[in-house]
Amino acid sequence: MRFSTLLTATLICWVPLSAAAADRTLTVYTYDAFISEWGPGPAIKQAFEAECGCTLEFVALDSSIGVLSRLRLEGESNKADVVLGLDLNVLAEAKATGLFAAHGVTAEDLALPVAWTDDTFLPFDYGYFAFVYDTETLASPPKSLKELVEAPDDLKIILEDPRSSTPGLGLLLWVRSVYGDKAPEAWAKLAKKTLTTTKGWSEAYGLFLKGEAPLVLSYTTSPAYHMIAEDEQRYQAAGFAEGHYMQVEVAAMTKSTDDPELAQRFLQFMLSPGFQSTIPTAQWMYPVIDLPEGLPAAYDKLVDPSKPLLFPAEEVAAERKAWVDEWLQAVSE
């Protein structure tokens, strides 16, 4: 191949992306896993567009925290009508930006295990952090966080780093809510059992499935994926007596939206079965309303925490940095 041929081929391959034109367009900032072909995004787009006669445009950022930082960078001039996928733990900081508007939606159908009164953010799914174990290599998993902390050091666990991942931060808060000021001691003990602390959930879960350790920090709903999509009972979550720390994912409309009516309509739609029924088998989390068709059968077999643990968002915002520093100190010794 001649160099010039290659150059020409390159230029020809350059296909400009054409934007679909429609009268009303709703732009939703979210994270990339949500709109991937394995996530709930495509089905939600189709369902909402059929109902509203508008175009739903997703802008996918790399992560939940990436969504917030994009918004902070753009400030008032952001292009979003709705922001979807913020974690409860960054809610106070998100609110402090002053970029969000009250949703004005009467959310009486909400079926969260905790009361929801926020007038700006609405939840769209929730779940519980849990240690998922491999039943083939671990016959009797720990039955409480204390049992895990006190287990012999040859029981290996894979964790995520709270500085770079949501489950990592979740465990940090979980340990804090169970151990209080004694959290550093518990972390020092956990550190001895930690095979590795990864950047994100993907590395941790992948290594777990490769058989590197019998326990990994994930969600109570993770086994549902294996049971439903793979018909595999091997991976189960360990139920902990102290309760499980919650993750709640929320959405809100922006103050700067040019179509508040449409944004509000989307938030309303978000709490309807058309949106919520995609959550259990695409997002692998719990829907925030009672679905008319109920949950998939596999969800009956999951660990159902009798006691959901959750710090108020303001407390997380105020203490997070100190707790992360404390954790870093405890596990680095």
Partner: protein, 537 residues
């Protein structure tokens, strides 16, 4: 044209992108307090660990690459050509796939442990910790170093081997008198590049290093930018990284020596040290280590890809759409990197050859690499802040990804093309000057025939690097934009490990194919032959 003009133009592009991003972010940061951010014990502990692991990783990669390059230079064996091409894969494979591949071989339930159990020795847990970091970084970097060193050995005029046989030199003397001097001309540059790559390592260090004790400066920058949204601290730490890395690499470059290439009539002579039992044992050991460190993890990636979901995954239009976009990015970025790299090298060659200042030339090539030490999320955020006032960042997505990928591939182009271009000048520069051949004619008639093979290699490396790069696009935000690595990460994020494994295997195969096509197409069919073919025959 003055000698400095091409490099200056190319480096202006680098400076505009890197400097523009950092300045834009610094300006956007409220209360930018450099001193306050540096007064932090945690930070300096992280810096110390980063320097330590990067130095050890570089030393080990280079120390292993030397015997491997030697073994490849003096042995012909079946699969040698394939092995050489596999060498270019390890740099291309997305980090997370490499981590899985390495764990499949060296992990607690990996192949090595399976063999140990089979032999009755029992399991050895050696992966997570400093050894894990070193294994990971050797996987990524050793093959690249070996490839550059091999190129240096192969540029030794064949007459040297004839003279060596006549004097009856032994293997040790050959190394001291012929190979080491040849390697030394390229070693400081390539070691500096590897150091920078290891210095900025994130997921490999965290995951294979076993935990937060193993934290690099890159992690601290990420924490500052994403977790705390402290722009000022992020820019300060990025500057610390840039300056520290720059200073260390500059120090290494002081070891640069000019090339010693002599004229050759281009006949082939056999090396006198291919017999010898000891030599064979050493080469065998070097190749065995290569197998364990580089080839087995790659095989693990390929094996994982042959699973039940393969047919279904490969039938998806979305996958081929991503393949198409990845190829466009790879070829455009590769070409751009080649043009920029060529421009820098034309100037640095003049400095080295005509003005006799090798250390200054090495310093001129250094800024081409500095983009590698700017954390990608800092670069993306900075560019976003910079460009969003003047243009629609979403519309700019594709050109921006191409530009950034090209700049990331630039240092590799400089390393792969630098040696051969210097050699070319030593052969023909005087002749061209006395005959007054310059410009396009010199490029077409003199440089191209001699350089088409290394140009093919450099373009192949640059293009495949861009093919495997996740790219800043993931951080910019996108709608219809999908590349193979992006699809791969999405699949893993959605529990689809088996589908992700198929995509990873496809990505590797695609890289290999692209490599062969470019290298063979540009370099001429001779590039395909495993045999070393000298030019001007």
């Amino acid at each position: 044209m003055p000698w400095w003009l091409p490099a200056t133009s190319a480096l202006c592009v680098v400076a505009a992108v890197v400097g523009g991003a950092l300045v834009a972010l610094g300006v956007a940061a409220p209360g930018f307090d450099i001193a306050g951010n540096l007064d932090d014990a945690y930070l300096w502990r992280v810096v110390w660990f980063t320097v330590l692991q990067a130095s050890l990783s570089t030393l080990l990669s280079v120390a292993l690459a030397i015997p491997v390059a030697r073994a490849m230079a003096r042995r012909q064996f079946p699969g040698r050509g394939l092995l050489l091409r596999l060498f270019s894969l390890s740099l291309v494979i997305p980090t997370i796939v490499a981590i899985f591949g390495i764990a499949a071989v060296h992990g607690r339930s990996g192949w090595v442990n399976d063999v140990l159990v089979l032999l009755g020795i029992g399991r050895a847990n050696y992966l997570y910790g400093l050894t894990g970091i070193l294994i990971g970084h050797c996987f990524f970097n050793m093959p690249f170093v070996a490839r550059i060193l091999l190129q240096a050995i192969e540029s030794v005029p064949p007459e040297s081997w004839r003279v060596a046989s006549q004097f009856g030199l032994r293997s040790r003397d050959l190394f001291r008198l012929i190979e080491w001097p040849a390697m030394r001309t390229v070693l400081p540059g390539v070691a500096g590049l590897v150091f920078m790559l290891c210095f900025t390592s994130f997921a490999v260090v965290l995951t294979l290093g076993g935990g937060p004790k193993a934290t690099t400066l890159e992690v601290a920058v990420y924490q500052a930018l994403r977790f705390d949204f402290d722009l000022g601290r992020a820019v300060t730490l990025a500057l610390v990284q840039l300056l520290l890395c720059g200073a260390i690499v500059l120090a290494v470059l002081q070891l640069a020596v000019p090339g010693t290439t002599a004229l050759t009539e281009g006949r082939l002579y056999e090396r006198p040290d291919t017999g010898g039992r000891l030599g064979r044992a050493v080469d065998g050991l070097a190749l065995l280590l290569t197998g364990a460190l580089v080839v087995l993890p790659l095989i693990a990636v390929a094996v994982a890809g042959f699973n039940a979901t393969a047919a279904e995954v490969l039938a998806r239009p979305a996958l081929w759409h991503a393949v198409g976009q990845s190829l466009v990015i790879a070829l455009s970025a590769g070409t751009l990197a080649l043009l920029l790299g060529g421009a820098i090298l034309i100037s640095s060659r003049s400095l080295r050859h005509r003005l006799g200042r090798p250390a200054a030339a090495a310093r001129l090539e250094l800024p081409a690499s500095l983009i590698l030490v700017v954390p990608p999320f800092v670069l993306a955020t900075g560019l976003f802040v910079l460009l969003r006032q003047v243009a629609d960042v979403f519309a700019l997505g594709m050109p921006l990804v191409i530009l950034v990928n090209a700049l990331m591939a630039l240092p590799f182009v400089v390393r792969f093309l630098g040696g051969p271009m210097m050699e070319e000048a030593q052969r023909h520069d005087r002749l061209c000057q006395s005959l007054g051949i310059a410009g396009w004619n010199r490029l077409r008639l003199v440089e191209w025939p001699g350089l088409r093979r290394p140009i093919g290699l450099a373009l192949a490396v640059a293009a495949t690097l861009s093919l495997g790069d996740l790219g800043v696009i993931a951080l910019f935000g996108s709608q219809d934009f999908a590349t193979l690595p992006l699809l791969l990460y999405q699949a893993i994020g959605g529990f689809r490990m088996t589908e992700a494994a198929v995509i990873a295997a496809l990505l590797s195969l695609l890289c290999l194919a692209l490599f062969l096509v470019i290298e063979g197409g540009l370099g001429g069919l001779g590039a395909f032959r495993g045999l070393r073919r000298h030019r001007h025959v």
